[in-house]
């Protein structure tokens, strides 16, 4: 299976828009994500037919219908498994998985982890609106503690999952976070996810204006955004704030702290981000309540992919044993002839 040649005429955003009416609520954050995807794809120079979007069930998972590519809207939580079978057997395809916080971390948590640890070359976008949208507003595994929802009128009593933590715990080779309305950043991250040679996991903070409006207000509101967001950049010190005068430093006991730059403290004391360093992602993913929310790439490392491993083995077997000979295989072992 070889790469199909790239078509002559450049594709445009419109080429990636399907003829299906978009069925999300007006104002839903999903619209922006769809737009960014449709925007970056033409830049990637991939023939449209080599793109497949696989999703589970949920509002987010409606995504494939709106992309004028191949698309498979599957069942709740299982998209990573289905995408694994597709990608492993079809290395020529570019396979994206679209999932939600319920789809990907509640019912589908295990498939997500296993796809990531295997390093199957699929790109998983988890639209995190901290709620079950499609089923009309129950709390999700990423909902904050004490969340009052339809299913928790007294407030939830379980600690949320941190999607970045879970992905890092599974030793995913690419782990990132971006925001639905942060158009530029999102485009960049989607492109980086595409370029990564291995599984990519991208959490996209997404607003559900119907059942969990403003869940991400602190990082999307124009006024507070700069102070509440820490944009991760490879090999750059961790600086943030409207005036870029705040930074993150590691105390001697390895716990991070926020410091103000200028005066006694200068940049050189700050923690420098490194996508490839093992401990880095963990420190950043757990900064906690008094810190800004990091966005960007927590971790990006290279490792053998499951797809490679599989194909190298098959190729080696063919080299060693020759292409399969069915006649010989049927006749394997002891045989005898009845005249």
């Amino acid at each position: 299976m070889s790469e199909v040649t790239i078509p002559d005429a450049k594709l445009t955003r419109k080429d990636f828009t399907s003829d299906q009416e978009v069925r999300w609520c007006p104002g839903c954050g999903d619209y922006s994500i769809l737009a960014q995807m449709q925007k970056i794809l033409p830049e990637l120079d991939i023939p449209r037919e080599n793109l497949v979007f696989v999703s589970g069930i949920g509002c987010a998972s409606r995504f494939p219908y709106y992309m004028n590519t191949y698309g498979f809207h599957t069942i709740h939580g299982r998209a990573p498994a289905i995408a694994t079978g597709l990608k492993v057997s079809r290395p020529d395809l570019h396979v994206w998985v679209v999932t939600g916080d319920g789809d990907g971390l509640s019912i589908g948590g295990n498939h997500l982890i296993h796809a990531l640890r295997r390093n199957v070359v699929i790109k998983i976008l988890l639209f995190n609106n901290r709620i079950y949208g499609l089923t009309k507003g129950q709390y999700s595994p990423t909902s904050e503690l004490f969340k009052v929802t339809k299913s928790t009128p007294y407030g939830s009593v379980d600690y949320p999952i941190n999607p970045i933590e879970i992905a890092l715990g599974a030793e995913a080779t690419f782990v990132a976070r971006t925001i639905d309305v942060d158009v530029k950043h999102q485009q960049e991250i989607l492109k980086r996810a595409h370029e990564h040679k291995g599984s990519a996991f991208v959490e996209i903070l997404q607003n559900c204006n119907v059942y969990n409006d403003l869940a991400w207000e602190s990082v999307t509101d124009r006024n507070t955004k700069a102070d509440n967001t820490l944009v991760l950049e490879h090999r750059k010190p961790l600086i943030f704030g409207k005036n870029r005068d705040k930074g993150i430093r590691l105390r001697r006991d390895m716990t991070p702290e926020v410091v103000t730059l200028g005066g006694e403290i200068d940049q050189s004391e700050l923690l420098v981000h490194d996508e490839t360093k093992p401990g880095m992602g963990h420190i950043l993913s757990r900064l906690g309540a008094h810190f800004p929310t990091p966005i960007g790439i927590f971790r990006a490392v290279k490792r053998m992919t499951f797809d490679q491993g599989t194909h190298v083995q098959m190729d080696n077997a063919k080299k060693k044993l020759g292409p399969g000979n069915l006649e010989a295989m049927l006749n394997r072992g002891d045989t005898w002839v009845v005249e």
Partner: protein, 629 residues
């Protein structure tokens, strides 16, 4: 057995040992090997099967082992048995009662003695008949000595000691050396029944090729046992079973699971498509995964998934990508896959699900056989969700039905459930190897032409929708589990469209009935009693019916290999008989379907013991039923 890989040489004629002893010819012999689960009885049984098959007899086997890996030595629950029936005429079952017991300890004897035929042979390893072992087995006195076995021919042999003695000079721990005693027992039994040990010698050489010490050890054990028979005075008679007059051709021995794997492989080769097996280990299906993991040089992907759902999910993903997508499991795994099977049904992708039934419900008795997943296979999904269901009848038939499952799945773009069982999966029989060129081609075409393309525009004959590989320019489209509009495949909540689509999916499955062989009636084409069976009970039913026919009874046998849809001609056959009887290893499942479909007062013969039918018990029940009129 994946362990056999590599040994492809054709077998020479069986050796003829010097024979100073008396030779007696037997037409049919049933032997049961039994010992601790660590004693290697399954291996001994399989090797004996191979020897006698290579010697040209017909043979049928019944492995029967506990769920424990190596249960503590000497316990009753830890006994592992392997029964085989070999004969100079065609046979269909592993035999009701053994003629010979090869018993490695008192527990084995305790468990198995009740089945031995009157006057049967017992070979027992005296070294294991110790005080503590006798006590564990619940014997107060040593049965080898207390006269309780007087009505049998008992051969007490100190197998353990003689095996250990044979190892002298080798650098083996006592533990490893002792482990070779199964080959001693095999050697002795092979001698007693004049079976050629060359196939076993080759097997040992190949299996342990990385460890010459072990090759030597096992060969010594085997040969020592063999020559002990030859030389020991104890054995005055050597038995011989002549080759059977099987249909001419080249044969090998095959288990149902191996045949299943090969059937899938052959179908993929004849379709010219890559094959993707997604599976999660579960007894008794795991061997299909093990076997196919060796097919990498064919275009075969095997994927051990994190669970059954991921396994079938990956298979559906691969099918979507243009592979033959297969998953193999057992009952407790099948129910987890049903949601994904429904996805394949809705998106009309080909998918093959092998369910190797075991005794249940729940974890049940995981290593025992049963036929109780039929209704689940047919009805166990949400909403109206017809799929094709078929079942092989013998180990060798697994090959053809697996092949057939793939053919139908591809042709109709439909999920096909292939329902085998533990008895078929682990049981072996001589199998006439088909020529590849005689296997039909499976024609499939991926749609590539964008002109007039619609994802749900159907082939007028099969009603199947086009199969489109992602990567095909101009055919970009979206599918999914929401109800689809006819022809366009767009999401649709239109009431009339839903009804239409539900009926189309059902009709597609129904049409398969026109694409399968005519039903074969064995026996009179009309008469008093029609016996309808399915699955691994084939041999036992067949033999019971044949014997009753030989007694002049008016009885016939139909064995269904297609369960959904049922063969179209069955409705013409059933009314030709006064009564219908449906033997099943369950509480009565096919019988429900037969009754509902044909409004005939069919009755069941039901056994739910984790064991196959005995011919005798079937005959008894059938006779009762015949008389009951």
């Amino acid at each position: 057995m994946s362990e056999e890989k590599g040994a492809t040489a054709h077998t020479e004629a069986p050796p003829s040992p010097k024979a100073p002893k008396r030779r007696e010819e037997r037409e049919e012999v049933v032997i049961r090997f039994a010992g601790d689960s660590g004693d290697g009885m399954q291996l001994a049984g399989m090797q004996f099967t191979n020897e006698t098959a290579v010697a040209g007899t017909d043979v049928a086997t019944l492995p029967d082992f506990p769920a424990e890996i190596r249960a503590p030595a000497g316990t009753l629950f830890g006994v592992s048995g392997f029964q085989l029936n070999f004969s100079s005429h065609e046979i269909f079952t592993p035999g009701d009662n053994p003629d010979v017991l090869v018993m490695m300890n008192p527990a084995a004897l305790k468990v198995n003695l009740k089945d031995l035929k009157a006057g049967g042979i017992i070979i027992a390893d005296t070294a294991e008949f110790t005080e503590p072992n006798l006590r564990k087995a619940g014997y107060e006195t040593n049965p080898l000595e207390d006269g309780s076995l007087d009505k049998y021919q008992v051969f007490p042999v100190d197998i353990t000691t003689m095996t250990l003695r044979a190892m002298e000079g080798l650098n083996l721990s006592q533990k490893v050396a002792t482990r070779c005693k199964n080959f001693y027992a095999l050697g002795l039994t092979s001698w007693l029944f004049t079976r050629p040990i060359e196939p076993t010698i080759r097997w040992i050489q190949n299996r342990f090729k990385k460890d010459p010490e072990l090759v030597e050890a096992n060969l010594r054990a085997l040969k020592t046992g063999y020559f002990f028979g030859e030389t020991a005075e104890m054995f005055a008679v050597q038995y011989e079973v002549k080759p059977a007059r099987l249909a001419p051709g080249k044969y090998r021995n095959i288990t149902g699971n191996t045949a299943t794997a090969l059937g899938f492989l052959a179908a993929a080769e004849r379709a010219g498509l890559p094959l993707f097996l997604g599976s999660y280990p579960i007894t008794p299906a795991s061997d299909i995964l093990h076997e196919m993991a060796n097919y990498k040089h064919f275009n075969v992907y095997t994927f051990q998934a994190e669970d059954e759902i991921a396994a079938v999910g990956a298979a559906v993903g691969a099918a979507y990508g243009g592979c033959i997508g297969i998953t193999a499991t057992s009952g407790p795994g099948l129910l987890l896959k049903q949601e994904t099977i429904n996805l394949a049904l809705m998106t009309e992708l080909p998918l093959i699900i092998a369910d190797i039934q075991r005794a249940g419900p729940s974890t049940g008795m995981p290593t025992k056989t049963e036929q109780a997943d039929l209704l689940m296979a047919i009805y166990g999904r949400s909403s109206d969700s017809p799929v094709v269901v078929m079942a092989p009848a013998t180990p060798g038939d697994c090959f053809y039905m697996a092949f057939e499952a793939v053919r139908i799945a591809l042709k109709y773009m439909v999920p096909v459930i292939f329902v085998s069982d533990t008895f078929l999966a682990n049981g072996a029989e001589p199998w006439k190897i088909p020529k590849v060129s005689e296997l039909p081609r499976i024609e499939t075409e991926f749609r590539t032409d964008p002109r007039g393309f619609q994802p749900y525009l159907r082939d007028p004959e099969t009603l199947s929708r086009p199969w489109v590989r992602p990567g095909t320019p101009g055919l970009e489209h979206r599918i999914g589990g929401l109800e689809k509009e006819d022809i366009t495949g767009n999401v649709s909540y239109d009431p009339a469209n839903h009804e239409k689509m539900v009926r189309l999916r059902a009709e597609k499955v129904a049409r398969v009935a026109m694409d399968i062989p005519l039903t074969e009636v064995r026996g009179d084409s009309s008469g008093k009693l029609l016996v309808i069976g399915w699955g691994g009970t084939y041999g036992a039913i067949l033999e019971a019916v044949e014997r009753l026919r030989a007694q002049g009874k008016s009885i016939a046998h139909v064995h269904l290999r297609y369960l959904s849809p049922l063969p179209a001609d069955l409705k013409n056959i059933i009314p030709l008989f006064e009564k219908v009887l449906v033997p099943e290893l369950n509480m009565g499942q096919l019988v429900k379907i037969i009754r509902a479909e044909y409004l005939v007062d069919a009755k069941g013969i039901n056994k739910i013991q984790g064991q196959p039918f005995r011919v005798s018990e079937l005959m008894e029940k059938m006779q009762e039923f015949l008389e009951d009129s």
